[in-house]
Symmetry: C2
Subunit: 332 residues, 2 copies
């Protein structure tokens, strides 16, 4: 790999001049400029980003902590939103997975910090508020996505999960359902699971329906988990005419289980999901769900991170995203 020195030698100028044309940081005589450009091309020179970062104290990297890149389309969509804006700013994204585990999240954040990321965007589920607040005290700007950390509202991008759960459940109640099952994650670290569940309970209460723990099924928050949880609910022999799910993936699994048991949807059981993942409108039956604008939220988080970096004003930007009910076939 050629260095700036090689280029300067070949172009018969000093390294400063080379640096100047690389960074366009001062006027350079046209002829020398040409010579430098030619030499760079000939040597296939590309500045060593580490040397640049070392001296300029800027890595041009935004570090992102996600739960699990593979946990369905959720994080992929989030990343897509972030990448779009980070890319536009000519910066790079470094992604690490925390797998929703406290120790791994902590380790990943340290690694990102050690990489001298200019800013961090964290989707942390497992770390306590206190630790996040401590982190935010450091000199690296940090944005939290999908979580509202008390006192750090301006650095958070979050979703009204409770409201969403409530809206979804209310729809079912309005349709006349009284026995509404809830299929959710068995991992209490999922704050949003607890919040959605709270919304569900809010709506039940509003409707004068007593919360019934036996109507709650828990398992891993993916298709298979939904299948399992629904299987247990059925085995338990409880009665319900509707199911609300923590997310669309679980609900897809739950539906699969219901259909296997010959239960008609929405004829016998109505189903509502959460997230509106890409394939929600292609399931059978098409899923009624609560839209979660994760891609836009990813964009917003990235925009906030960049704004913080540049000291730009972003006080007025929206940080709280609202649920929106998408009604399709799976409810009656």
């Amino acid at each position: 790999m050629a260095t700036i020195k090689d280029v300067s030698r070949l172009a018969n100028v000093s390294i400063s001049t080379v640096s100047r044309v690389i960074n366009n940081t001062a006027q350079v005589a046209p002829e020398k400029r040409e010579a430098v450009l030619a030499a760079m091309k000939e040597l296939n020179f590309r500045p060593n980003s580490f040397a640049q970062a070392l001296v300029s104290k800027r890595s041009n990297c935004i570090g992102v902590l996600v739960g699990d890149l593979c946990g369905g389309p959720f994080f992929a969509q989030m990343m897509r939103g972030m990448e779009r804006v980070i890319d536009r700013a000519n910066k790079f994204t470094i992604v690490m997975s925390g797998n929703h585990a406290e120790a791994r999240e902590r380790h990943a954040i340290q690694a990102l910090l050690q990489r001298q990321c200019d800013a961090l965007i964290l989707h942390s589920m497992a770390l306590p508020d206190a630790e996040l607040i401590e982190l935010a005290r450091g000199d690296t700007p940090i944005i939290f996505i999908n979580r509202l950390v008390p006192g750090l509202e301006s650095q958070c991008v979050w979703f009204d999960n409770r409201g969403g759960g409530s809206t979804a459940c209310q729809l079912l109640i309005d349709k006349g359902h009284r026995n509404i099952a809830f299929v959710t994650s068995d991992d209490d670290a999922f704050v949003d699971g607890r919040q959605r569940m709270q919304g569900y309970r809010d709506a039940l209460e509003r409707g004068g329906i007593t919360y019934d723990e036996t109507l709650v099924g828990r398992a891993y928050a993916d298709e298979q988990g939904g299948y399992v949880a629904m299987g247990e609910l059925l085995a338990r022999g409880v009665t319900f005419s509707a199911v609300l799910g923590f997310n669309d993936a679980m609900v897809a699994g739950a539906i699969s289980c219901l259909l296997e048991h010959g239960i008609q949807i929405p004829g016998q059981v109505s189903v509502v999901g959460f997230d509106d993942i890409p394939y929600a409108r292609y399931t059978y039956p098409k899923l009624t769900t609560v839209r979660y604008p994760i891609e836009q939220m990813g964009e917003r988080a990235a925009e906030l991170a960049l704004a913080l970096l540049d000291g730009r004003d972003c006080e007025q930007w929206v940080r709280k995203f609202a649920p929106e009910l998408v009604i399709r076939e799976s409810v009656s």
Copy 2:
């Protein structure tokens, strides 16, 4: 951020000694070692990875080029496999998306190279063989995933798409189907699309069935595209009793369209997908598909990259992955 100098001062040793305890690169008197450790902790010291990389010529980063992180679970699963092994090696992953576009892929690769990645793993669809061969000539080890570059077999990890397409189509023929539609990508840059289609044609020919262009539907390679392509096929008024798809996502969309038209699956039309994505077993009906072990392939690619880096021998490792038919309900 504390530097090695701060630590050395606090611990009353030279920076060399600090470096030694950081890297465990030589014996250090236990007491000094303790002092250094204590100082590091007190100052919350973390070595500057750029300075390390600059001098050691090692970034500890593996650069990965993917198509589109959001193009369904495919890349996400691939990344999961890679991350697992890269993480285990205590290295980092830098991901960039090429979006299947030539210019963007080229740009992303340059960016990765400039970041001094120790090795690259490329999922390139759009770049011509010649350019990849040229790239591989450089001093950064490169692995190609999901593509067989002529002459670089040992640096490739690929899948027998043609065989898979053939197997899938053969299953349908064995079941007595003669009119088999094919739903695929409208983007010719998808080499694997062309290969799978070739396998489909192989099987047709073997079965003495004439290939019929009007039985091919093309659209963007996701659920929506599958829905659209199937809609066109139906509008075209062609007759078919089975559908083969480029991938499961398209097939899910196609099924949705068929069901909307009141067509029974597999009663009236049998359907076979490709990839065996996570939700394939939770669709209605459950998808018969060709398993694509992308996660393992991601692992293998990462293992190869690391082996190349360390100059380890990996001649014997499997690079070609074989299709495996997964028969579920969607076929009769």
